[in-house]
Every structure is written in C-alpha cells, then in structure tokens.
Symmetry: C2
Subunit: 114 residues, 2 copies
C-alpha cells in the first residue's frame, strides 16, 4: 500500500463511485449561481405568479429597466425564462415548472428554520 500520512482510500473509492460526473457538477453549480442573486430570485418569483413585460418587472422591483434587462438575459441564457414580443413590449415567462419547484424547495428550507 501507500505510505501516506493518513489514508482515506477505503472511504474515498466508495464516494468516488457515487459522485455524478464532473460536467454535471459544474453545470449544477452554474445553475444555482443563476438562482444565487436576489434580483434574479425576485424576477423568478414574479414570473412564477404571472408573465410580465420588462418594464412591469422593473416597476415591481423598483429597479431600472436596464438592470432588469441584463438579468433577464442571464435568466434566458440559462433557459430559466422565455419571452415573446407583443407589439412594443416583450413578455417574459418561466420556461419550466422545474424553476417553480426549485424556488419552492429553497423557500421551504429557509422558512423551516425559523
């Protein structure tokens, strides 16, 4: 065997076998990163109730249209929201019920420890 200071091979090989592939873990981190911002969480929560155009979200959150547009782009790149043009405005909506579930799960975790 090896002469390490402290051998973990027994436990590690078992854990290693059960770990999801590296790529999935990176994607998972990236996914949560998108959820990991108050502004984006607020946007997602809003859209969870109703589809909304950009300026409605901006008004709702009391933020500039530009800031919201930038974050909507992040959310869209992550495929968490979709959009469609309606005349002059662009309406955004959740692209997936999974998003609602993840938010709900997180909220449950938060509110449970209180």
């Amino acid at each position: 065997m090896a002469n390490r200071k402290h051998d973990h091979e027994n436990s590690l090989s078992a854990v290693r076998g059960e770990m999801p592939p590296e790529e999935d873990l990176c994607n998972l981190g990236d996914l949560f990163k998108v959820f990991g911002d108050t502004t984006r969480v607020k946007i997602l929560c809003s859209l969870s109730e109703s589809e909304l155009c950009v300026c409605a979200i901006a008004e709702l959150l009391g933020m500039t249209q530009s800031a919201i547009s930038h974050q909507l782009k992040v959310l869209k790149d992550a495929r968490l929201v979709g959009n469609r043009r309606e005349g002059k405005t662009v309406v955004y909506f959740l692209s997936d019920d999974h998003v609602r579930t993840i938010i709900a799960q997180g909220l449950e975790h938060i509110t449970e420890k209180r």
Copy 2:
C-alpha cells in the same frame, strides 16, 4: 388614476400580493449563492454519500486543504453542514436532508434537458 406611459397596476398589485416577503427573497438568494459554486457543490455531493474529514475531501477533489477549509466554513455558516472533532481530524457531514433534496432537484433539472 395615474398618467403613466404604460400602466401595469392591474397585473402588478396581484403579483405583489403573492410575493414572499423581501427578507425571505434575500435569504433565498443567499442560500442559492452557497450552492452556486462548483467546489461547494462537489463537497456537498461528497458529504451526501458519506461523512468525511477535511483532508479526505481535499484529496477527493484534488484541491488544497486550505481551499477546502475555507469553503467548509462558508457551508457551515450557511448551516448546510455540521462537523465534529474526532481526535486530530474534524469530520464534516450534511446538517440536513433538505440539502440532499435541493441538490437532487437541481441535478434532475440538469440531466432532464439532455
């Protein structure tokens, strides 16, 4: 009524009523922020399989002990992991089954779109 360029009060008041309180949304963002890092996701996945000491995690992930310790502190401050000393080593473990659920939910979302 108001004379805005574009009135959203009808939709907005309804959405406003359903939004969780500001503080919860901030905490939610902070929670997901902790999940939003590949290293921490890997640590959580490892601990999801078995409790592990610091140097085992470091070895498993191929990272320095210091880097892992710093991230374990973040995870502990967020109450996602707990620890106990066992002689010279300190063993870390998931503090909550909720963590497992959130990770699983995220992984499901990832692997579904493939």
